[in-house]
């Protein structure tokens, strides 16, 4: 033992490298900049994308911009407070007393958006024919990826109208944040693909060059799914084909919109391993696609009100208080235990945040503390907006908003 200690003393370990410091994320600047036209909030399901989108939209409207927030699947009470009781697939003005700008909100109705595309690009008889097609009915209501595709489509429509200074988009609650980027292409590839053409239009010239294996394939597909489905798909594709110039072009156009200057992505995560892993994938993907990332919103953190007392010391103090006894000993000990838990949780959260920053030092971070109970009215949204857009260094505890706990002094 002694030997070890001496050795340690003679050869002190080099100090551990300081944890990387995240860059501050100043969202107030981002949303008030007139050049910012689209903000897309992405992240795994359940991290608070919808609330973040709505809070940012509110802040931007209060700062004087004409904003529309496109929500995908808002919680019922939040939807009500934004006046989104009705699913009419059009933006509605939200009354924000004292706001210099305008806040509009809408909830995506994917079936309706799809129907609108069909109506806009075909004759009434053709449209009716398509609406009655069983394959279209499934495609427009439950196809994997339709929601993402229609969210993109709606975003394209909103942007084309030039009615809005700023569009804030919430993304569908898919398992992976990447689905928002992938699904539209997957879907257009599918609808535009050679496979579907060969399969569904045996009378066309394309079929003549198709090999015997394709006939075999077609036979198997109809064996498994039944011939009716193939006939439905065939008539659906034929109807679409003459109607407008291909799904792929449309999807490509909306995808390109996301790369234009003025579009920013905001990744939302909670301080949990899974959510941060998703955020990590998404950040990598955006950088590979050369899409601009504004930063990471780390939602629902648990910063302590004071950091003067560590978790260990708070637990020790709780025991001392109980031993000393007295009228309110139990209450004081309870409060100390609450603090100990809080410090431990904040330490875990900061650790996860540090790990994210080690992997992505270029990504700016803003933490948003959890509130007791859910956000479901304008006041709640305003509170969240303040946490999102307040200056990084301006907090009551002095801990910058890019962190949960103060940086350890070395």
């Amino acid at each position: 033992m002694t030997q070890t200690t001496e050795r340690t003393r003679r050869h002190p370990r080099p100090p551990a490298p300081a944890a990387p410091e995240a860059l501050p994320l100043e969202l107030a600047e981002l949303i008030t900049d007139p050049d910012t036209r689209i903000v897309v909030c992405c992240g795994a399901g359940g991290v608070g994308k919808t609330t973040t989108s709505a809070a940012l939209a509110l802040a931007a409207a209060e700062a004087g911009r004409t904003v529309v927030v496109l929500t995908i699947d808002p919680a019922r009470r939040l939807a009500q407070s934004l006046g989104l009781g009705e699913l009419d697939n059009e933006p509605r003005r939200v009354d924000v007393p004292g706001a210099r700008g305008e806040l509009h909100a809408m909830m995506l109705d994917m079936k309706r958006t799809f129907d609108d595309i069909v109506v806009a690009h075909s004759t009434p008889e053709r449209a009716q024919q398509i609406f009655e097609n069983p394959f279209y009915q499934t495609l427009s209501s439950s196809f994997a990826g339709t929601q993402e595709y229609m969210a993109m489509e709606k975003l394209g429509q909103l942007r084309a109208g030039d009615r809005w200074d700023l569009i804030i988009v919430d993304t569908p609650p898919s398992r992976s944040a990447l689905d928002f980027l992938d699904a539209p292409n997957r879907m257009s590839r599918f609808l535009d693909g050679t496979m579907i053409r060969l399969l569904t239009a045996p009378s066309r010239t394309g079929f003549k060059i198709a090999s015997a294996s394709f006939m075999f394939f077609s036979r198997i597909i109809s064996k498994i799914l039944g011939g009716q489905l193939l006939r439905d798909i065939s008539s659906f594709v034929a109807a679409l084909d003459t109607m407008f110039g291909g799904f792929r072009e449309r999807a490509t156009a909306t995808y390109e919109l996301l790369r234009r200057p003025g579009t920013w992505f905001l990744v939302v995560a909670t301080p949990e391993p899974d959510a941060l892993r998703e955020a990590s994938y998404f950040v990598d993907r955006l950088s590979a696609e050369q899409m601009p990332l504004a930063g990471l919103v780390l939602n629902r953190t648990h910063p302590p009100t004071t950091t003067a007392l560590s978790a260990t010391r708070a637990e020790g103090a709780a025991e001392e208080v109980l031993e000393a006894g007295g009228a309110d000993a139990e209450l004081a000990a309870g409060a100390l235990r609450v603090h100990a838990e809080r410090m431990a949780q904040a330490t875990r959260e900061q650790h996860l945040a540090d790990r994210f920053t080690s992997a992505h030092p270029e990504v700016a971070v803003r933490t948003v503390p959890a509130v007791a109970g859910d956000v479901h009215d304008l006041d709640g949204l305003r509170g969240m907006a303040d946490a999102l857009t307040g200056p990084d260094g301006d907090t009551p505890t002095g801990v910058p908003r890019r962190r949960i706990l103060p940086a350890r002094r070395r």
Binding site: A75, P134, R175, S213, L225, L229, A324, A327, G334, G373
Partner: protein, 356 residues
């Protein structure tokens, strides 16, 4: 002691994303495997969450033992691969395995599951049904099958395969197949358990899912309240703190008695944290009432400190085992076993899920 046989052999676990349904499914599988039973834990979403929980390499498309339970019970796990399941299906019905591989190379399998999204679900639930009904030497191979199912938002569509496929295929073998699956899923052999947290959205989604499942004729099982924390404040103070809030003055005497100086507004800061804690607790209590009002058997699982490892899973499994025992007792008591229940009873009594 008289072993109480349970009629439920297919346990489907769903929940809103982030509620920990995979953890609950794994713990439930361990609970059901106690006393020498054979349990299959099925993953349907292809994210290898089960392998992570049991700290094993990614699961292939085959049944692998991941844990051993009390009395020689076994939990095997299977991560269903939709493409593999389709090939298996082609082989089983058409003897087309080689051709199936060729189809896979040209992307045809992916194509087939894309044109008919319900096909994916038919294949997944079909595999579940096969495991539930698989027999060897006249008795079931698995005493119970636990499914880590898609989240609440998609669960009814996932299980209600006939409905989903009806619009697409009115004939053909897939139709026949999905009818067979429905017969098992709608029977009292199946129970759909819902995992929730004491938070607004998960509780609301649980209520919605129960309504949808019930409307679709699918049997709803228990509600599992996951990650339930204990209050750190004494009971009477908790209510007062939630209502009127605490101030530093409430804590200062207790702190002073232990010689803690009120430096830098420590008492005030602690009071603020304690108040927030109490308010959170009060909000949770309201939600607990809402969960109770759903009228389903409910079990609470504690929030465990640290990461979920095998030890933690066994701890949760212990709680679930207790819950299953009381539920089985109750189900037997109210005398509602149906025709399919009797079919279950022809097996040796000790072989089915539940308690010994």
């Amino acid at each position: 002691m008289n072993p109480v046989p349970s009629s439920v052999r297919c346990h489907v676990v769903t929940g809103k994303g982030g509620t920990g349904k995979t953890t609950v499914a794994a713990a439930l599988a361990l609970a059901l495997a106690a006393d020498g039973r054979q349990v299959l834990l099925v993953e349907t979403e292809g994210r290898q969450g089960i392998a992570q929980l049991f700290d094993t390499p990614p699961l292939p498309y085959e049944e692998r033992r991941v844990a051993v339970a009390r009395g020689g019970g076994e939990v095997k796990a299977l991560a269903i691969d939709v493409e593999e399941a389709l090939l298996e299906y082609l082989e089983m019905f058409y003897n087309l395995r080689r051709a199936g591989r060729a189809l896979r190379r040209v992307g045809a399998v992916d194509f087939a599951t894309t044109i008919a999204p319900g096909l994916r679900d038919v294949l997944l639930t079909g595999k579940v049904k096969e495991a539930v009904t698989r027999r060897h030497d006249g008795r079931p191979v698995y005493d119970a099958v636990v499914v880590d199912a898609p989240p609440t938002g998609r669960i009814t569509r996932f299980l209600n395969v006939t409905g989903e496929m009806a619009g697409l295929t009115r004939s053909g073998p897939i139709k026949t197949q999905s009818d067979g699956v429905m017969a098992v899923l709608k029977s009292p052999q199946t129970a759909v358990h819902l995992v929730t947290l004491l938070e607004d959205m998960p509780v609301q989604e649980t209520a919605d899912a129960i309504a949808e499942l019930t409307a679709a004729g699918l049997p709803v099982g228990s509600v599992v309240v996951n990650m339930a924390a204990e209050p750190a404040l004494p009971e009477p103070a908790l209510a007062r703190a939630a209502e009127t809030g605490l101030t530093g003055a409430d804590l200062a005497p207790g702190l002073a008695a232990a010689g803690l100086q009120d430096v830098a507004g420590l008492a005030g800061a602690l009071a603020a944290e304690a108040t927030e804690h109490a308010r959170r607790w009060a909000a949770q209590d309201e939600l607990r009432d809402e969960v109770e009002a759903l009228g389903r058997p409910t079990v609470e699982l504690p929030l465990l400190p640290g990461p979920i490892d095998l030890g933690a899973l066994f701890e949760l499994a212990g709680r679930l085992e207790q819950h299953l025992r009381t539920e089985v007792g109750r189900a037997d008591g109210d005398g509602s076993p149906s025709a399919r229940n009797e079919r279950g009873a022809e097996r040796p009594a000790g072989a089915s899920g539940g308690a010994a």
